[in-house]
């Protein structure tokens, strides 16, 4: 009961902030929340389950494109399109994870890189379906039960997405499933001896987190009301990886801190040093790895672990 009250309070406060911001701040706020949602699920995949996958941002893109195409071109009602988008993410995640997890972790990295690149090729060459290099634009979120979700109301949708992602990930992390994932990350041989089906657990962790990324992508699709290939390239996939590592791999609070620092850093630095902020990324990354391998969260928490 206590956690329900806490969660409600967080949702109310984060939503209230959305009503106070101007258009420019709203855009930053929404995208920050989306990055946090992505970093939370990616932290489970990379930090907790120990899977080096580069496809997380791709699933974000798959979710975004899927919902736009299914709603505007196929003409599906929004809930059905969302379900179909989830189903698509599940199928693609299984197609990548089942063959890759049977092999060494290195092959998952390769397979997910391949998926990420294939997705960009598909977007660029997809003709009218994907809109090619220009992507898709000038669509809008259909009304839901007669209600138009725009402005601060849509910010509330994003707040719900991020807090629900937090809730789902923290429940998974603290359950037998989270323990099994961490056991596999630390020692697959011993994990198997404890009765953990290593391959199956890896596939489930990959699929679940990829679906969470896909759902975040569906929400993102109606933030800018445009989706195009450069957004979903490898650059952002690596930024996500840096967010999790710098924040503190394996820690939920770390994911939030990492996403917040790295997303906001350019806004702070750009007026000062222009485009050189990319250089600062590299320096911050190195400094964190060398000085505090447990990430920024390690500075405030004495005990490493699951962010419990």
């Amino acid at each position: 009961m206590k956690t329900v009250v806490q969660a409600a309070l967080v949702i109310v406060v984060l939503s209230a902030i959305g009503f106070l911001l101007g258009p420019w701040q709203t855009d930053i706020y929404r995208k920050l929340l989306l990055w946090i949602a992505l970093a939370l699920s990616y932290n489970f995949l990379f930090g907790v389950a120990g899977q080096v996958a580069f496809s997380h941002f791709t699933f974000y893109g798959i979710g975004a494109y899927a919902i736009v195409i299914l709603v505007t071109q196929v003409g599906m009602p929004l809930p059905l399109a969302a379900l179909a988008g989830v189903a698509l993410c599940v199928v693609l995640a299984l197609a990548v994870a089942i063959p890759a997890t049977r092999l060494d972790g290195f092959y998952l990295a390769l397979a997910t890189l391949a998926l990420a690149q294939l997705f960009i090729v598909f977007l660029n060459e997809g003709g009218a379906v994907t809109g090619g290099t220009g992507g898709l634009a000038s669509y809008r979120l259909p009304d839901i039960a007669g209600v138009t979700l725009s402005g601060p109301r849509y910010t509330v949708v994003i707040v719900l997405l991020t807090t629900l992602t937090w809730g789902v990930i923290s429940r998974l992390d603290r359950s037998w499933f989270g323990r099994a994932c961490r056991a596999i990350r630390d020692n697959p041989q011993a994990a198997a001896a404890m009765g953990i089906d290593v391959a199956r657990t890896r596939v489930i962790a990959f699929t679940l987190t990829s679906v969470l990324a896909g759902i975040a992508g569906m929400v993102y699709a109606f933030v800018d009301n445009t989706v195009n290939p450069p957004i979903f390239g490898l650059e952002n996939a690596f930024l996500l990886l840096f967010m999790v590592i710098i924040g503190g791999s394996g820690s939920q609070f770390g994911a939030v801190i990492g996403a917040t620092v790295l997303y906001l850093l350019p806004f702070v630095l750009a007026p000062l040093i222009g485009h050189h902020h990319a250089l600062v990324f590299g320096v911050v990354m190195l400094a964190v790895i060398l000085v505090q391998p447990r990430g920024l969260v390690g500075l405030v928490k004495s005990r490493p672990g699951a962010g419990q």
Binding site: V168, R171, L172, R174, S175, W176, F177, R179, A180, R182, A183, D186, N187, Q189, A190, A191, A192, A193, M194, G195, I196, D197, V198, I204, L208, G250, R303, P304, G305
Partner: protein, 274 residues
Amino acid sequence: MSGQTTPQDRGQPLLTVRALTRRFGGLVAVSGLDFDLHAGEILGLIGPNGAGKSTTFNMIAGTLTPTTGDIHLAGRPVGGLPPHEMAARGVMRTFQHNNLFAGMSLRENVMIGMHVGLASSLLGVITGRAAVRESEGAARRRADELLDFVGLADVREHDVTTLSFGQGRLLEAARALAGEPRLILFDEPAAGLAPAECDRLGRILQQIAARGIGVLLIEHDMRFLLELAHRVVVLDHGERIATGTPEEIRHDRSVIAAYLGSSARTTAAGGTDA
């Protein structure tokens, strides 16, 4: 130990190994091995280096597939099943070099041993179903009981990397027990332990067997093994050369010959070890 009724007098064996054979290319590591293990029995498996002990152990644990032959657990064939399937059927193991999950507390390590019993619907986990929370709480309490049983209750919240080697061994025993196994395979549990730690581990093994759990013990330390085991199977060059009570094994000529022939640092007569 001798003079008591040994568990093999009672009923169907827990583990039956028949004509078990494993070849690696041209090398026959284990050849036509037969033995039984009963519930509540401590069965020692000994032999000089290269005798096929570890190969046998790994076939029962599921990490190696037998080339031919059968392994039955409580009458059901289990030969060739992968490790997690063996664990799901009640066969838990420890490792020769402690294989703990670093970065986790002792309690969490033990709770991982309960995986098979705890694993339930993920939907229940995500929706925070009450039954999931209750079983998690019960698992936590049981983990604390097991840590108490092996004498590690005081440090249950600590990270496992803070443990000594001997404490790690005890934790492995608790973790293996957590799966409510029917059979526990111990891979040289006394290796690297101080004498006091050996005694403590020996008592724990006896208590485990007294709970009705079968114990298969591979051990180099002859004194440790002969004091604990109800029965002993001796391997040499992949074949069983003797089987019997520790007393019979101590005086078996072929055993003495095998040990003296291959290693001067251990004697089959008991009493000394490396």
